[in-house]
Amino acid sequence: MNDDPNVHARLEDLVAMQHRARGFSFLPRQPIHSLLAGRRASRLRGRGLNFEEIRRYQAGDDIRQIDWKVTARTRKTHSRVFTEERERTTLLLVDQRITMFFGSVARMKSVTAAQAAALAAWRVLQQQDRVGALVFNDSDIVELRPHRSRAAVLRILHAVVEQNRALAVDRGLRSNPEMFNEALRRCDRIAKHDCLVCIVSDATGHDDESRRLLTRIAQHNDVLFAFVFDPLEADLPTAGSLVFGDGEEQLEIDTSSGSLRESFRADFAATRAAGREFLLQRETPIIPLDTRDDVADQVRRRLGARR
């Protein structure tokens, strides 16, 4: 097995992503340049208060917060300090289907997706939220219940790596577009409400059913769509005659034809624009992730970092 980290994700790389999971946030209070800015700030999900500490009463403290037991015991006025509860369970939908096993520049789409998922999981853990995942390939969906622990994150990463390393062009893996809807259906069942649903996929196999499912999920949850794509999917190179295939069948295309390249480009752009429009109507932002640039940089650029 070739151990190129750009072809197949390695667990240690994904674990190391925790150090890069900074500089962006999924929280309501968003940096000004974030995609999420101005959208959710006023609407606070989660309820109740989390106990933070007991400290000496300070002027201005709400007198209702004075802890009478401690005050009585110490004979000094103490007040309980609560912080807002920010809990928001995050559910990652990580696509590791064979269609993700493609990349022309730096790394595979599947690796990009794995890294993005790892980044999100670590970030969520740092925010003290629970993180769960649906990791799916062309045949299986691995469901990992949300937990707020490092072990849970590692379990997710493990599942991702396992499916990631199973990908190869010569293993007779058949693309199964239906899996996209299947994963959304499972997600719809798990994410009842107030979750952040993070979909990391190339959206292969999206159809009206997916739109319906997404609409349903977005009604009660926040959805963030990380759209993973490769530059070659967006634009064909000018390189004469090229043979494309899917492992079984072949198609020879003369890429010197300008009209062909143009229609290919237009088709991709149109599909992407339609998806973007649809998701935005459901207040779902898209983070385009290409296979060229560093994933953390791309996420940071979209979700927070100052430009």
Partner: protein
């Protein structure tokens, strides 16, 4: 005139249809880039993805070119030949023998020549014969000198010039002072024995008076008549003379009348003219003509056309698409080296190409093939597009990649075609005229050492036996004989009459050599001379040793001559042989070991037959062996008619 040697092969014309019909369609598996967006791409292009290569490349042009190539291959297979204008050769229908008296009496100055001056009889004979020879074009003429004994000075030859030269060199008393006229007729009879020509004429020029014959002239004349030989007698001398030098006119007349010939006096020009007239009239000048219309193989014309068509088609195709592609690296020399043909070293030494300039076409063919191969390599264009560390993981469709795909077949067909066009050959075409085989000069060292009896019966005798076998093996081919020791002598100029050479070879004896020693270089020079007269050939050098001091002269001779020399020592392996080999090296002589059987004879005969002859080595004499590649080419073109076969190319 153009004809087909095997026109029935044109019936194979519809064979491609059969191939197209019967063979299952070919799918050229090619490397592909496994992409997730294939369905989308297919939808945009409006094509359905197929297993194996797409069949979208079949175009009308391609079929036209393919059919043209098939036609060319088939035409070459049918073996077109140009029938050239007939080459005819006159074969002399008459053999004339001139018996010239060289007895002492021939120096008597009693003859009036045309200017009225008194000259000796021999000079008169020479002038008479010079006249005579000038009119004998087309006949074979031999020359017998007789004195004490008769000997053949010139065996039958068509080269009247040589004959004339040798006649001029004749000296009175060369063969002794007496006159063996009867023996001369006897010798003539035995010489005629070996001639196949029906009309046999002997012209005896003598001053008569047989003094030394073992066979009396009358008896000899009788035998000659039985053998169908006509003897004309020309008396030279003064009929009124008496005594020793007297002219025996009666004998001469009788000999002539017995055999049906004419008697004449050399001074009597009218009578001589009558003899000439009779020669012309009686034996009608039937010049036998061997006619031969050589057929020249031109199978390579259609092959060249086919090659040009196919190569230019692909070249145009490649150039047309070149604009769409990035400039590519120059071809590696390894690719070219792979295209050059065959290790020629293992082939027979005579292997060569008739039209080697066509081999230059290998270069563009190799380049084109290399470019085609690059094009057929569908993995290559992806290398510039996909990052190198990702590409190996994304390539598919490799399984079942055949080593010999259509592109390789194209390469093979081109290679075969070019080789065939270049006209490989390694043997000469058997000449229509048997006499065309190269001449051979046999150089024999005749020294006392050659009488050593380590080889039974003796070296010289064994050599003579071998020469006998060799002459038999050579049949009608021209052979000359040179003997040497301290001096070199042309025993017999090149002649087709093996019998004479044989008899002279048997008679070689150290005693007849005037100077003892070793003058090999002079002998080889003499041999070269005789070969030049005979139109080129090779030398067989029979010697039991070469003096070390001959190294310089031999090397000097080798500088001036490129005649091939084979040393054929009548020696058993040993020191002598080794030193001979070493000393003969300056002459670049190849050693042929003496064999108990006749294998050495056959080796030399075969080598001598096709010896490089500077005079008549024209290319047409080499047998065109390239035709036999044509069936192979046709067979290799056929698969291109299989459906889907050509789609992987270009």
């Amino acid at each position: 005139m153009l004809t087909l040697a095997h026109p029935w092969l044109l019936a194979l014309l519809p064979l491609p249809l059969l191939i197209w019909w019967l063979l299952p369609a070919h799918r050229e598996p090619r490397r592909e880039l496994v992409v997730p967006f294939l369905p989308r791409l297919a939808q945009i292009v409006g094509q359905r993805p197929t297993r194996g290569a797409a069949a979208a490349r079949d175009s009308l042009w391609r079929w036209l070119v393919l059919i043209a190539c098939w036609l060319c291959a088939l035409l070459a297979l049918a073996r077109p030949q140009v029938i050239e204008p007939p080459i005819s050769r006159d074969v002399p229908a008459r053999d004339l023998l001139l018996a010239v008296d060289l007895s002492g009496s021939m120096e008597t100055k009693d003859f009036q020549d045309a200017q009225g001056q008194s000259v000796d009889r021999l000079t008169a004979v020479k002038s008479v014969l010079a006249d005579f020879l000038a009119k004998r074009q087309g006949d074979r003429v031999g020359l017998i000198f007789f004195g004490d004994a008769a000997f053949v000075q010139v065996p039958f030859t068509e080269d009247l010039h040589v004959c004339r030269q040798l006649l001029d060199e004749a000296q009175v008393r060369m063969a002794g002072v007496q006159t063996a006229f009867g023996d001369a007729i006897g010798l003539a009879i035995s010489v005629f024995e070996r001639s196949t020509v029906k009309e046999r004429v002997l012209i005896a020029l003598t001053d008569g008076n047989d003094t030394a014959s073992q066979v009396p002239p009358d008896k000899a004349a009788q035998i000659a008549k039985d053998k169908g030989i006509v003897v004309h007698t020309v008396a030279v001398g003064d009929p009124r003379a008496a005594g020793e030098d007297a002219l025996d006119e009666t004998t001469l007349k009788r000999v002539a009348s017995t055999t049906g010939g004419l008697y004449s006096h050399a001074g009597d020009r009218a009578q001589l003219a009558a003899i000439y007239a009779q020669l012309d009239a009686l034996e009608t000048r039937v010049v036998q003509t061997i006619s031969h219309r050589p057929r020249r193989d031109v199978y390579w014309w259609p092959l060249a056309v086919g090659l040009a068509i196919s190569m230019s088609y692909f070249a145009i195709g490649l150039l047309a698409r070149a604009g769409a592609r990035r400039p590519t690296a120059q071809p590696s020399s390894a690719a070219l080296a792979a295209g050059t043909p065959l290790g020629l070293a293992a082939l027979p030494a005579s292997f060569h190409f008739i039209r080697p300039e066509w081999l230059l076409a290998l270069l563009p063919a190799a380049l084109l093939w290399w470019a085609l191969r690059r094009r057929a390599d569908t993995e290559r264009p992806w290398r510039g597009i996909i990052a190198p560390h990702l590409l190996p993981h994304l390539l598919g469709g490799e399984a079942g990649k055949t080593r010999f795909g259509p592109v390789e077949w194209i390469g093979i067909v081109w290679l075969l075609a070019i080789v065939a066009i270049a006209g490989p050959t390694w043997r000469r075409e058997p000449s229509p005229f048997a006499g065309d085989t190269a001449a051979l000069a046999i150089v024999v060292k005749v020294s006392p050492s050659m009488q050593t009896e380590d080889v039974q019966p003796s070296r010289l005798q064994r050599a003579a036996q071998k020469i006998h076998d060799l002459l038999k093996a050579r049949g009608d081919a021209k052979t000359s004989l040179i003997a040497y020791s301290g001096s070199a002598h042309l025993v017999m100029p090149a002649t087709k009459d093996g019998g004479i050479i044989d008899s002279f070879a048997q008679a070689l004896d150290p005693k007849i050599m005037p100077v003892d020693g070793d003058d090999a270089a002079a002998a080889l020079t003499l041999a070269d001379q005789s070969l030049k007269d005979a139109g080129g050939g090779s030398i067989v050098w029979i010697t039991d040793g070469v003096a070390p001091e001959q190294a310089q002269p031999l090397a000097a001779w080798r500088q001036t001559s490129d005649t091939s020399v084979r040393v054929w020592p009548p020696l058993l392996p040993g020191d002598e042989l080794d030193s001979l080999e070493a000393n003969a090296r300056p002459a670049h002589a190849r050693l042929v070991a003496l064999a108990a059987d006749d294998s050495d004879v056959r080796t030399i005969a075969a080598a001598a037959k096709f010896a490089y002859t500077a005079g008549n080595a024209s290319d047409t004499q080499w047998a065109e062996s390239g035709y036999w590649v044509a069936p192979l080419i046709a067979a290799f073109v056929l698969p291109f008619f299989r459906r889907g076969w050509t789609t992987g190319i270009g």
